[in-house]
Structures are given as structure tokens and as C-alpha cells.
Symmetry: C2
Subunit: 138 residues, 2 copies
């Protein structure tokens, strides 16, 4: 049985708090720092900046880049396509990318931006981001 010191005992980590410099973020998502700069140049991710112009990535940024990597590496989507997908998520106010891995069901609508009965630990594919990890930061 797991010891009781679980995430209930950890201090709350704000997923929007910028904490990672670019080299750390690159390691976390297994990508080159050069590539992270390109993603930013393309407008796909916008890390925060310190007063001395150092990039700082948040957990949400990491999640976003994870989705970018999944979409480019596994699904072959190019960066322009990802831009459109992210734009649609923002306009619809929904984590539509999660639908790629949601259990197929005959549902008429899905307006809840937050996944409800989804188990974040249950990755839809062995290599894909978890359903709760859509790049949208809502």
C-alpha cells in the first residue's frame, strides 16, 4: 500500500505558474530547446519571461508542448494544422483534442470543457497525452 504522503500532502502546484527554464522544459518534453523556440515563434506556445527576458515555462506550457509533439510525431500534423486546432479549442471553449481518444459513443453534445468521469492516468494511447491534458488552459 502506498505511503500516505501522496499529492494530498504536497503543496498545491499551480499549473499556470512559470517555473521551468527552456533547458528543463526541453528535457521534460524530450525536445530540443531550438525546437521550443520555433514553437514559440510560430505562436503555438507562449512561455512567460522574467524581467531579464529568460523564458519560463509552466506546467500548462509543458502540457501544450506535449500535445504539439504528439500531434506532429504520432499523427503527422504540421505546425499550421496545430495552430488551427488550438484556435478551434479556444473559440469553442472546449478541449476538442481529447475527443480523438475519447471512447466513441453516440453523444449529441459535449460542452463541458473539463473532463468529467475521465481518469487522467488512463492514457488513451500508449504514446498520447492523457485526456485531461488537452493543451487548452481553461
Amino acid at each position: 500500500m502506498e505511503p500516505r504522503r501522496t499529492d494530498a500532502s504536497r503543496p498545491y502546484r499551480d499549473p499556470s505558474r512559470p517555473v521551468y527554464v527552456i533547458s528543463v522544459a526541453a528535457e521534460l518534453v524530450r525536445v530540443h530547446p531550438r525546437t521550443l523556440r520555433i514553437y514559440e515563434g510560430e505562436g503555438l506556445v507562449c512561455p512567460a519571461r522574467t524581467p531579464t527576458n529568460i523564458r519560463l515555462y509552466s506546467e500548462n506550457d509543458i502540457r501544450r508542448v506535449t500535445w504539439i509533439r504528439h500531434l506532429t510525431q504520432n499523427l503527422g500534423v504540421n505546425l499550421a494544422g496545430i495552430r488551427v486546432l488550438f484556435e478551434l479549442e479556444e473559440r469553442l471553449g472546449m478541449r476538442i483534442l481529447e475527443q480523438l481518444y475519447a471512447e466513441r459513443e453516440d453523444h449529441s453534445t459535449s460542452t463541458d470543457p473539463e473532463p468529467t468521469d475521465t481518469d487522467p492516468a488512463a492514457a488513451p494511447t500508449p504514446d498520447g497525452p492523457t485526456p485531461a491534458d488537452s493543451p487548452s488552459n481553461r
Copy 2:
């Protein structure tokens, strides 16, 4: 004043009826027949076949290819990205691509696959498909 012989007097044209051979479809969407065959090979459009294996495209197919062209030529989305976008439209049961050109508003949900007060003649961009023309055939 326009003569009374308008579309009210024309026979109803089923947009799902396959009527165009590949050369005609190519002209309609200004694309090479070779390219239409590639789109089909990629699973992006599925024209009907005659008993002698001749492709026949419907208005819905034409609309779908028009979206493909718009997304590739104007937005730079590659074919894999379009596949994901179409897949999401199917899974969500919504014409999400129309949201790219919908008037930006603070709406909480949009579950109606059919545009309501949208003027099909009012293209969102000079070069884009009309809002009512999302590739989804619902």
C-alpha cells in the same frame, strides 16, 4: 425584378447525389485530378463509384474538397492535420471549422451542426469556404 424562375422552381438537388466525374470535380474546385485521387487515397474524401468503378463526386464531396484546398492553400495545414480536423468534426457532430470564421462572441456552447442565422453568401474571408459549407455532411 428577377424572373420568378428561381431556385424555388428548380428541381431539388440532392447534395449527396454523386454526379460529377473526376475531371469535372477537378474543374469545380480548381485542382488536378491527380490531386483528387491523392485526397481519396488519404481518406479525406470518398467519392461514390459507378458499377464500372468510375468515381462520381457529389456536391458534398465538392464542398469537402473546397475546405481541403482552403486549409492547405490559405492556412498551410497539411493533409494529416486535415484528417484530424475532419475526424474531430465527425466525433463532435459539429461543423467546428466554421468557427474559424464565425463572428467572435462570448458564447458558451455551439451544438447546432447547422448554422442558424448565417448568410451562406457572406463568405467569412474573400477566399474561404462559406460558413454553411463545412466539410461535414451532416
